[in-house]
């Protein structure tokens, strides 16, 4: 009798993790992967105002790529994504290295740099909208200081508006990248550094040749986190430029929203969502694959 109970308890213990995880697993299976499949199906259908399950092949994709607005949005994503990730990492690493020099009140400074991360993109966007507005913000202030020819009108210039987005996004995220790298810098084996400096390597050389290369995994996490921030960027655009001037700073997420919820074009919206997903997959899978395989070989 006792042994039966014990076996039951044993079995329960073995099954417990699976039972606990099952609801969450099922929910994700349905609400994430299930709806990805649904969206893919819709993107091949002739849905407009209401979902419609008649398939029409690639027609929605053809329409999508003939739309000027989509091509602008997609190019913007590439520009925005690349510059945002690159600049955030460069600034983040520099800040981390500078903070790593055992300076005073490091805690306070670290907090100041990290704090923008605690703000939502909507607030960042609104604040930067005012800062970058030529007649309210920076331009007026600098001119009132006497530099009359100063001009900073990115946000009202259709060629530069996307860089205005980059600027606000970098301000928000580089502190986070800094924190990421700072913790990694702190965990670098001090003996190697000592050995290198005994051998006469300069500080710059130690960072460039030894410390940073040893932090490959941190670069990877930074890129993964920043690129998903870039691809899902929506609120920043809404708050900062609202896609303007014209639609020159719109991003694919905004395009998707506009088509699906404002223009009764669910099919085109779904097609754009699938292209966004495909972009993520196309960039991230090879990268993850090479990085994960690389780390196994080390």
């Amino acid at each position: 009798m006792a042994s039966v109970a014990a076996r039951m308890a044993d079995r329960l213990e073995r099954w417990m993790p699976k039972i606990v995880i099952a609801p969450g697993f099922l929910a994700i299976l349905l609400f994430v992967y299930g709806f990805i499949i649904w969206t893919a199906y819709i993107s091949f259908s002739k849905s407009r105002m209401l979902p419609n399950y008649d398939l029409i092949g690639l027609r929605q994709y053809e329409r999508l790529f003939q739309m000027d607005r989509w091509n602008v949005a997609f190019t913007n994503l590439l520009i925005f994504g690349a510059t945002f990730i690159l600049v955030s990492i460069i600034i983040g690493v520099l800040l981390a290295i500078l903070l790593d020099q055992r300076i005073r009140i490091e805690g306070a400074i670290r907090t100041i740099y990290l704090y923008p991360m605690a703000i939502s993109f909507v607030i960042t966007g609104t604040a930067w909208k005012w800062i970058m507005n030529p007649s309210l913000g920076l331009e007026t202030v600098v001119r009132s200081w006497g530099w009359e020819s100063f001009s900073f009108g990115w946000i009202v210039d259709q060629n530069m508006a996307v860089y205005a987005l980059v600027m606000a996004a970098v301000w928000q995220s580089s502190g986070f990248v800094m924190a990421l790298f700072l913790s990694a810098l702190r965990s670098v084996d001090q003996d190697i550094i000592k050995a290198a400096s005994l051998d006469g390597a300069s500080t710059a050389k130690i960072y460039l040749r030894i410390i940073l290369p040893s932090m490959r995994p941190v670069f990877m996490s930074a890129v993964v986190i920043l690129s998903h921030l870039a691809i899902k960027s929506f609120d920043l655009v809404v708050a900062l430029t609202n896609g303007g001037p014209g639609y020159s700073s719109t991003l694919p997420a905004n395009f998707m929203y506009e088509m699906t919820f404002r223009r009764n074009e669910i099919g085109v919206g779904a097609a754009s969502a699938i292209i966004m997903l495909a972009t993520v997959v196309a960039i991230m899978v090879p990268y993850l694959y090479s990085e994960l395989r690389g780390s196994k070989n080390v």
């Binding site: 209401l50 909208k129 009202v156 609202n242 303007g244 223009r263």
Partner: protein, 416 residues
């Protein structure tokens, strides 16, 4: 069938008598009027409905100018449980009707003689296949110039009556260092100005051909090129900070005398009123140059297919109240628009509203009343979006007028 009709009429008559109906009329109303004068206005309707013994279920969806509401509506209809009345407008009504989701208001409409009191342009919107499926609430005029007379006086000008005059006045203002046109660079505002220019330069027939029928010949015609040329000129008349500016901030520029004029629908009046400005004294409202044209924007409630006697009664009562003279007056006084029916006494309204009503009545008679594209009356979401995209792309870049007309045709064909 006839007896059923009679029974229904009886039911409506009963519902009309306070506390007399056995089944309490119920109406769930889905709307996005959640702020300011609009919220007050919808409250009026709720009170009137309850006074007549109805049970009002309020379903406001805040935000997004109706985008959020559209998502709610879509899921409710797909789930087979639509609300009784939903605030939708323009061709969206026809799209829902084509999907078979809307009820039939013929009974109320016949009893209340809607055919005699509504202008044709509005009937085109709220009728589907000969049946009334929606009730219009108001009319906003889109083609207005809001001008600051003091600023115009500085260059000895008056509100322009032709587009040539407009350009001449604007040049004078610019030379005097005044911003001629207060402008908000958002796609819908670009399109608002664009359609007034189409109406002014092309005339009513051209507007109907190009904007309503989407006739390719008209869209690619030299007249359309001229319209884009005028838009390019307007670009010189706005200040450099215009991109992204909200319309009410542009209105404030006119109020403060920083700019001379704004082209905007009559919701701008609310901003002037809130600042305590008087029409004719502190600001002037005048139609944008055109030959008797009138671009209208109208909100309406579409009545969905609901099940159950109480809900149907509620719907009929609601429809009757919405188009009733009393509600049309109170609501539109709050909202700053004018009644959708043409027989409401206008003595409580301000000068701009009275002018708007006179012009609408005249335009309805002369058949020069047209629906707005920028505000989704003449075209549904997709085609309207195509207009917005091209107009805003042209306005914000150095695109030539010829290229803009070409792109306009392409974009519209894609969206159709």
């Amino acid at each position: 069938m006839k007896s059923l009709k009679l029974a229904l009429m009886g039911a409506i008559a009963l519902a009309a008598m306070p506390l007399a109906a056995q089944a309490e009329p119920v109406a769930e109303v889905l709307h996005y009027w959640t702020s300011g004068g609009e919220a007050k206005a919808i409250k009026e309707l709720q009170q009137a409905f309850e006074k007549r013994g109805g049970k009002w279920i309020d379903a406001p969806v805040a935000g997004g100018g109706g985008d959020a509401q559209a998502a709610v509506l879509r899921s409710r209809v797909l789930a087979g449980d639509p609300p009784a009345a939903v605030q939708i407008k323009g061709p969206n009504i026809a799209e829902w009707a084509a999907a078979g989701a809307l009820g039939d208001l013929t009974e109320v409409a016949t009893a209340q003689k809607w055919d005699d009191i509504l202008p044709q342009a509005i009937k085109d919107v709220v009728k589907y296949d000969g049946h009334y499926v929606a009730v219009p609430v108001n009319v906003h005029r889109v083609d207005w110039i809001w001008a600051n007379p003091e600023v115009l006086a500085k260059v000895g000008a008056e509100v322009p009556k032709t587009w040539d005059e407009f350009n001449a006045t604007a040049d004078k203002l610019k030379a005097a260092g005044i911003v001629p046109l207060a402008y908000g660079g958002q796609p819908w505002q670009d399109a608002t100005v664009f359609e007034t220019v189409v109406l002014g330069i092309g005339g009513v027939d051209f507007y109907k051909k190009a904007m309503v029928d989407l006739d390719e010949e008209a869209l690619g015609s030299p007249t359309m090129v001229k319209v884009f040329d005028q838009m390019r000129k307007m670009r010189d008349y706005v200040d450099p900070d215009y991109p992204g500016r909200d319309w009410n901030l542009a209105t404030a520029m006119v109020m403060r005398g920083e700019a001379a004029m704004q082209i905007m629908g009559d919701w701008a009046k609310g901003e002037f009123a809130a600042a305590g400005k008087k029409p004719g004294v502190d600001y002037i409202c005048a139609p944008t140059p055109s030959e008797g044209g009138y671009i209208l924007n109208s909100d309406s409630f579409a009545m969905f297919n609901v099940k159950g006697e109480d809900k149907k009664e509620g719907q009929a009562l609601l429809a009757e109240l919405i188009l009733g003279k009393e509600f049309q007056e109170t609501f539109n006084l709050y909202k700053g628009s004018i009644p959708a029916r043409m027989d409401v006494p206008m003595d409580k309204f301000d000068a701009c509203a009275i002018k708007s009503m006179e012009d609408m009545t005249a335009a309805a008679k002369n058949n020069t009343l047209v629906g707005s594209v920028a505000h989704e009356i003449a075209q549904a979401g997709a085609v309207r979006g195509a207009f917005l995209d091209v107009v805003t792309a042209h306005f914000n870049s150095d695109m030539s007028s010829e290229e803009a007309t070409k792109k306009l045709i392409e974009a519209i064909n894609l969206a159709k």
